[in-house]
């Protein structure tokens, strides 16, 4: 019990009490938006400034490289070399089926337009992700379809100075669906189970988990930004056994891409899905209704919570596990409310 941590509500020391007050009033968020916006103003600009650098550095090089003949030729040559490796099967995948080359060259480029221009993801606190060694990123989950996980993967890869790859833990449903399971494996995702998670962490990989699972993904629109139960907290004991830090991550914007106003439970049961969303557009407009709303996203990586200070038997202590789980959960929830207060509107 002595190990129980008090959650520091006053991350930003000056506005500690205001945040706490806002947090309790968080459910009535839209009303509370107008007053505090002014005092929080400096943050987004600073974050935007720090954020701009890596994004542009990722974005720019392909553009000017086209102006010189040499650049184009080099691109064609590397493209053909890539094609040659692909056609002859001369590439490597790891034990989990992660195809780094395909992910970097093709799959990420497919996700990037969604990330850059559609959701205009703003990333904060990427410096909280260690440059090397294992770490467990724990994020909130929302949006009916697990778009937030994919965006988080792009966010980490494109913004982290070391270009780290995020290995996501996905639900078993992902690995039952044809095509989806193939893409998930090639993107480096694996089944959310303790064995896979600890194996990846011990290999020094960056692992992303969304412990809310389907409870968070398929929650009604009215419950947006209210964190659901964090599973059984298995992710904490896995991180503790591996001695890797836990990085809380808050994703704002994913909740509104598919506002789920209803759940056709019978259809869901028939299809074997955990829920079947009904949004203002979805079953009514057919495939058109499956287009997500172009919300503006913010992904904030929080301060790492170290786990290496605990004795090895601590992973067996349920009380400590509950406390740590709550600490992570509170930190994510707290950051969510903070980001929501800073947000100007859902779409801009």
């Amino acid at each position: 019990m002595a190990d129980a941590k008090v959650i520091p509500f006053d991350d930003d020391r000056s506005r500690g009490s205001a945040v706490q007050r806002r947090r309790s009033a968080g459910n009535r968020r839209p009303g509370a938006e107008s007053v505090p916006v002014r005092e929080v103003q400096p943050l987004p600009t600073r974050a935007a400034a720090q954020d701009d650098v890596p994004v542009t550095s990722e974005e720019q090089p392909p553009e000017p490289s086209g102006d010189g003949e040499g650049g184009l030729e080099r691109r064609i040559a590397s493209g053909l070399a890539f094609l040659r490796r692909r056609l002859t099967g001369d590439y490597e995948v790891d034990d989990f089926g992660y195809d780094e080359e395909l992910t970097d060259q093709v799959l990420m480029s497919l996700l990037r337009p969604l990330y850059d221009t559609y959701f205009r993801v703003e990333v904060k606190g990427v410096e909280n992700i260690p440059a090397e060694g294992g770490a467990l990123i724990v994020a909130n989950h929302s949006g009916t379809l697990p778009m937030d996980g994919l965006m988080m993967q792009v966010a980490v890869h494109d913004n982290h100075p070391a270009g780290r790859h995020l290995r996501l833990l996905a639900a078993d449903l992902v690995f039952m669906l044809p095509v989806v399971n193939e893409l998930a494996r090639k993107l480096g995702h694996t089944l959310a189970c303790a064995e896979d998670a600890s194996r990846l962490l011990q290999q020094g990989e960056l692992v992303g988990v969304m412990p809310e699972g389907f409870k968070g993904l398929g929650k009604p629109f009215a419950d947006r930004y209210k964190l659901q139960r964090f599973g059984r907290g298995g992710f904490v004991s896995t991180a503790l056994r591996a001695g890797t830090p836990i990085i809380p991550c808050s994703i704002v914007g994913a909740e509104e891409i598919y506002p789920m106003i209803g759940n056709a439970k019978t259809v869901a049961r028939l299809l074997g899905f955990p829920y079947f969303p009904i949004t203002p557009t979805f079953p009514w407009l057919g495939p058109l209704g499956a287009i997500p709303l172009p919300t503006k996203w913010t992904i904030q990586f929080g301060e790492p919570i170290p786990t290496d200070g605990y004795p090895p038997e601590a992973a067996e202590d349920p009380m400590l596990m509950f406390n740590l789980t709550d600490q992570v959960r509170e930190q994510i929830q707290h950051t969510l409310y903070k980001l929501l207060v800073q947000r100007r509107s859902v779409f801009f």
């Binding site: 392909p62 184009l72 030729e73 691109r75 064609i76 040559a77 590397s78 493209g79 053909l80 890539f82 094609l83 040659r84 692909r86 056609l87 002859t88 099967g89 001369d90 590439y91 490597e92 995948v93 790891d94 034990d95 989990f96 089926g97 195809d99 060259q105 093709v106 480029s109 078993d172 690995f175 039952m176 669906l177 044809p178 095509v179 989806v180 399971n181 193939e182 494996r185 090639k186 694996t190 089944l191 189970c193 064995e195 896979d196 194996r199």
Partner: protein, 353 residues
């Protein structure tokens, strides 16, 4: 006094190779090769005894030869010659029971090596990506060779409990490939066009025949210093190949079929007796299977000579060229690269940015 090694299942290539190899060991005095049918290959001077391990007569063989090391290789997925699946299952399961019963009564037996398979883990989407020796399977194999191996391992565990003085080594081999391997997967890869399951790209692991022989040799001797060769070990080459990679490296085109169609076609082919494309084979080619080999390295002290990719390359060399040889494809791409700029202009769009 030297060792007397009794090897079952010698009528197969693998058994024959192992018999020839183990005779060259200095501490081995005599090798007794047992199978129900005489082998077509030579056994290098080993004593061949024609005995069916499904019959109690195997106990007499054991008593007469006074064998101290039993290497049980007669646990296989493909019938020999024209044998049926039923007789194969009997050899696998009843044969193991009889052999273990004989071993239990024989005071001379000190060591038992059993060839098992990573099939015991099954393949299901809800399984962890990498199986360790202690991972409980989420879905037990419902039939076929996989179920046989589960049952064989069950009997071997029972035997190990009743005869704690016998060192028991269960080797769970990944898919065995090599120039002469006769496994279901080898016959699958020999098809001119590979049927695959649409929307799935299974991860496969292979182990080379040479490594199989070597690890069997390690298992049938006293453990080297600092290692332990009793227990259960996963045996597989390093690394993983996806089925799509295998087909490309082999130069054989794939035909993706929907899962129900594959199941149906599989049962049709099986009924016609063309190949043993069993349900567990389809599951393997749907969800794939990868095992951890840490125990093999650290406890058993065995380093495979071939990685999964090298094993597959060796196997591919022994196969004829496919319809789309990788060299030809590579050459075609190279010719495009040699063309003036305009010719290759549209290509990089799918890869470059």
């Amino acid at each position: 006094m030297g060792k007397v090694v009794l090897v079952t299942g010698v009528a197969r290539q693998l058994g024959g190779r192992f018999v020839r190899r183990i005779q060259r060991e200095p501490e081995v005095e005599r090798v007794v090769a047992v199978d129900a049918v005489p082998p077509e290959h030579h056994l290098g001077g080993a004593d061949f005894i024609q005995a069916d391990i499904r019959q109690p007569g195997i106990a007499r063989v054991l008593a007469e030869t006074g064998a101290d090391t039993i290497v049980h290789l007669d646990v296989t997925g493909t019938p020999l010659g024209s044998g049926s699946r039923t007789s194969l299952k009997e050899t696998n399961v009843i044969g193991t029971m009889q052999l273990l019963g004989a071993c239990q009564k024989s005071p001379s037996v000190q060591r038992l090596v059993v060839k098992s398979s990573t099939n015991v883990y099954g393949s299901a989407p809800r399984d962890p990506a990498v199986f360790t020796e202690t991972t409980p399977p989420k879905s037990l194999p419902s039939g076929g060779f996989a179920k046989d191996t589960v049952e064989v391992e069950g009997y071997v565990r029972g035997f190990a409990r009743r005869r704690p003085d016998v060192a028991v080594c269960v080797l769970r081999f990944a898919n065995i490939l090599g120039p002469t391997a006769e496994t279901p997967l080898a016959s699958y890869f020999a098809l001119p066009v590979l049927p695959t399951v649409f929307g799935y790209d299974p991860r496969l692991q292979f182990v080379h025949e040479d490594d199989v022989i070597e690890v069997l040799r390690i298992g049938s001797h006293e453990p080297r210093r600092g290692t332990l060769n009793s227990g259960t070990f996963n045996i597989a080459g390093d690394g993983v190949l996806l089925l799509s990679q295998c087909s490309r490296r082999l130069g054989r085109p794939t035909v993706p079929l929907l899962l129900p169609a594959v199941t149906w076609a599989g049962s049709l082919v099986r009924t016609l007796g063309m190949t043993d494309f069993s349900p567990e084979q389809i599951r393997l080619l749907t969800h794939g299977r990868v095992v951890a080999t840490g125990q093999m390295r650290e406890t058993l002290g065995f380093q495979p000579k071939y990685t999964t990719a090298e094993t597959f390359a060796d196997f591919a060399r022994s196969q004829g060229p496919g319809l789309l040889p990788p060299q030809a494809l590579a050459g075609a791409v190279d010719r495009i690269a040699d063309l003036p700029l305009a010719g290759g202009g549209h290509l990089p769009t799918q890869s470059a940015n």
